[in-house]
Symmetry: C2
Subunit: 227 residues, 2 copies
């Protein structure tokens, strides 16, 4: 081992360790939440000791906040960025929802939902950080909805902020619930989002073959959706 490994700089070692710890912590946070996030376990799964974890992060809370920021940056790069590139508000909202559904096909997407639900009834820095992220997202979506209604592309309905809250809640729930169930995750996401915005269903072009497939699909197969 001392022969095969090249000589790494301290900066390289630090970044490598940090990355491994962040990924291990994210996995545990997504499956077990913050209260069950045991740092000894995180360290072992990252391939280091708990001392190494404490060398990099002051405490458990700071580790969790680092994971939250990491997930947010990943989401922005893959989802937010694409939606922001759209000119039309409806296109932006639909693109965001579709990209989010794709984002949810990865395990790490579950981190924010898990932590958000966990801290919903508690006053805690991690919960506050997530609430701030989602407040910003809600504001962005509310602006898009308002713009879409002003242009006539979106029919009138409940106040933009309430509609945006429902939109993001749906995006989150459907994305996680149907994660990995391609291609249904994308279709059902699109349907739900159109519905909450008050938009009519998209014309049925390729749905007929899918409908026929539904009739031919054994009920037993359908029953495996949840686990």
């Amino acid at each position: 081992m001392t022969e095969a490994n090249p000589r790494r700089t301290q900066a390289d070692r630090r970044e490598r360790t940090r990355r491994a710890v962040l990924e291990a912590a994210a996995r545990r946070l997504s499956t077990h939440g913050y209260a069950n996030l045991v740092l000894e376990r995180v360290a072992n799964e990252a391939g280091y000791s708990r001392g190494a974890v404490y060398h990099l992060f002051a405490n458990k809370e700071e580790l969790a906040l680092a994971v939250v920021r990491w997930v947010e940056e990943t989401w922005e790069a893959e989802v937010g960025h694409a939606a922001a590139g759209e000119v039309d508000p409806v296109d932006a909202l639909m693109t965001m929802a579709e990209r989010h559904a794709l984002f949810c096909r990865r395990e790490v997407a579950r981190v924010l939902l898990t932590l958000r639900v966990e801290f919903a009834g508690q006053d805690h820095p991690v919960g506050q950080a997530i609430a701030a992220i989602l407040d910003r997202l809600d504001g962005t979506c509310a602006d898009l909805i308002a713009a879409g209604r002003a242009s006539g592309a979106i029919p009138p309905g409940p106040p933009p902020r309430h509609t945006a809250a429902a939109y993001t809640a749906i995006m989150e729930a459907v994305g996680i619930e149907l994660a990995g169930q391609a291609p249904h995750d994308l279709e059902l996401m699109g349907r739900a989002v159109r519905g909450v915005l008050g938009l009519p269903p998209t014309p049925i072009v390729t749905d007929s073959p899918s409908g026929a497939g539904s009739a031919a699909t054994p009920v037993h197969t359908d029953r495996e959706v949840r686990r």
Copy 2:
């Protein structure tokens, strides 16, 4: 106190204590989840000692399972029962969603979501109990969707079981997210559910006044939706 209190039977005392403990546990579960459910705290909030809690429930897990059963029974009585009374599948699905939104105006509605998310990545009896409940619900909804499609009342779309999973996820998310935001919680719930089923938006009859209200509502008011 010894003069004002009538002589209660042991059965009465037991039921009274049990009720108080269940309610206190439900409140804590909905805000802090299972991992942070501290029995000393539950006991204090119920007005009894931890010994009394252990007298009634073998351990923490059994208490949580009792709360889950209690919430399920309440949901069945107020939501499931009303939906089952509908003859038409679409009416059943819409009634269920509407009743669920009303159910979510109470704090206890949050228990199942909190626990479900908490145990999603763990193999635990409480998580299994909740998964079983939701599996049954998904099955019922899938049957309704299949019946609605067979009768032509619901357009074709992704497999009934996938659609049902999205339906219940939406019902859960929107219900909790907009809890207490009357009357928007009901309207947005209806919209989202119609959308995921592939049904067109309901004709705008009373939406115009609401739309005008939206324009007149200060943006600051909208920003208070989340907290």
